[in-house]
Symmetry: C2
Subunit: 319 residues, 2 copies
């Protein structure tokens, strides 16, 4: 199986590369833009056995089709703003790619006006379906890496990303959490599974409320956390404000980033979308049902590494 | 089981009413607007055992919720232009309806810019999903009643609707056909089936190309048919023209009707969307897989009734 990863050096791309190399039964390729060929991250991939192919996915269709020749599976981790997935989809169809994994990798949310990020992805999904390209959409819940937070002593500031320092509503909405490092391990199972062809799959490690996360961190750190509750109405107001600022068909990342963050909280924190039951209602298969023997990293273990100072610091911009 | 049919006197509504009454194990209700309470069609429904309830689905939400009290299943056959399904969906959620069948009842087509009619329905489907209302979407293929056509002698003009008098492309695209009268019979099975909850279901009787339809009609009538082939490019051009005329968010039926007809031909005739394989790819369950023992009316039998002069004349505007 020849698997191509697009944007192999992003968060999800890196996890997918790790998973594929660990599994050992794939030939792994990555497209790299001409101007990035000499970057250390690319050199690192090559050293680890990834075949690096110079290719700009914004380039000419014929060249993209040629570059995809012989590829069985494409895993696109382009991130939300890179809508050039559309030409990638066209090329994959022409090249006879057997399975295309578009860039999903977000929380569970319905399309149609809840999360702009989700709706941007829906355009790509619809394009895939209109071309009848074999596909699998994979969503992953909320990362452990963004669900944990600072403690007063400051000793875990080295992994702090500032996304959990407020509690949405009363903090009692269950939401699915996944270790980013497990995403790639799930992906290696999904992409060779006939059951997941032309389906949506939701992978997650555990389900917790924000209060439970805070309780666990207090227990493990021995420190008392301030609980900054933000009313549902405030989240709604924030979303409305961000939408107004971003405008109708916004493409400016500076405006979109706060919108995405606000709508994430609306979706998983207020609406409670990000859980396996709702995923199943929306038509997803789930990792727990598909792979009951899969042993995901526990959130407690992740936090342990955080407090021991050994957690990996790699989280930047969401998406 | 208490089943409410919305717009029970439309084409699909009438077929659904027939199916429900024939099945005999449902209490059947219909909403009728105040101004239509004394119409003969309504009187006819009452005579056949349908409970008639005066209710305007464009009315106040609280009244709509009250009117839905005790209803287990809602089957909406409102037609494409009646987007008031959104308040109906809101009311159904509040009233605790156990299954909502929104107005689907079209051919298989992907959302996202192929068929405006499909995309209007998608808005309703997304609203349902955002509310987590239990639902089943049912699409039905192309009716026998609109797939057949005039013969030179004029003897079947009494059922002619003028939708099959041109052949799209070379006429070799397989497309699913269904007897409108079977739709209700399929629906009675689907709405009490746990497998179909929160799923899309595609019901169809047979799959034929336009050339096969023409061949069969020639064979049965003994008359030679003119074959008026219209190139794919002409259908594309017609669609582009209708879209330009209709504008972006068109609601004017006079502009939408030709658009819908042109896009139907684009979808089933050029793209070949309307078939069971593509339906399955899009996530539909199919009537053949779900109910292998169901005996659908044959197209040959339908045509026989057409040539014998006993076919029912009831087809007006599509949708």
């Amino acid at each position: 199986m020849k698997v191509l990863v697009i944007r192999a050096t992003g968060h999800h791309g890196a996890s997918v590369i790790d998973g594929l190399l660990e599994a050992g039964n794939f030939t792994v390729q990555a497209f790299v833009r001409p101007e990035s060929m000499t970057k250390p991250a690319v050199e690192n991939l090559r050293d680890r056995g990834v075949e690096i192919r110079e290719c700009d996915i914004n380039g000419r269709l014929a060249e993209l089709v040629k570059a995809l020749d012989g590829i069985d599976i494409v895993i696109s981790c382009v991130g939300t703003l890179q809508l050039d997935q559309l030409s990638l989809v066209n090329a994959a169809k022409k090249a006879g790619v057997k399975r295309f994994v578009p860039c999903g990798f977000i929380t569970v949310a319905p399309p149609g006006g809840i999360m702009h990020m989700r709706d941007l992805k829906e355009r790509v999904y619809n394009h895939i379906k209109q071309l009848r390209l074999p596909y699998t959409i994979i969503d992953v819940g909320w990362w452990y890496q963004v669900a944990s937070l600072r403690v007063p002593s400051g000793k875990v500031d080295y992994v702090a990303v500032g996304l959990a320092e407020e509690i949405v509503g009363k903090g009692n909405i269950p939401s699915a959490l996944t270790d980013l490092r497990d995403v790639g391990r799930y992906v290696t199972k999904i992409i060779i599974d006939e059951q997941t062809l032309n389906r949506m799959v939701f992978v997650y490690n555990t389900v917790m409320t924000q209060n439970q996360v805070y309780d666990l961190i207090e227990e493990m750190s021995g420190e008392k956390l301030e609980r900054n509750y933000v009313a549902d109405e405030s989240i709604h107001a924030r979303v409305a404000e961000c939408r107004a600022l971003a405008g109708k068909d916004a493409t400016d990342p500076v405006k979109l980033h706060p919108l995405f963050l606000a709508e994430y909280k609306l979706s998983w924190g207020v609406r409670g979308d990000n859980n396996p039951d709702y995923a199943k209602y929306l038509g997803y298969l789930t990792s727990k049902d598909l792979y009951p023997d899969f042993e995901p990293a526990g959130f407690r273990d992740y936090l342990k590494s955080v407090f021991e100072g050994t957690a990996v610091v790699s989280i930047g911009i969401i998406g």
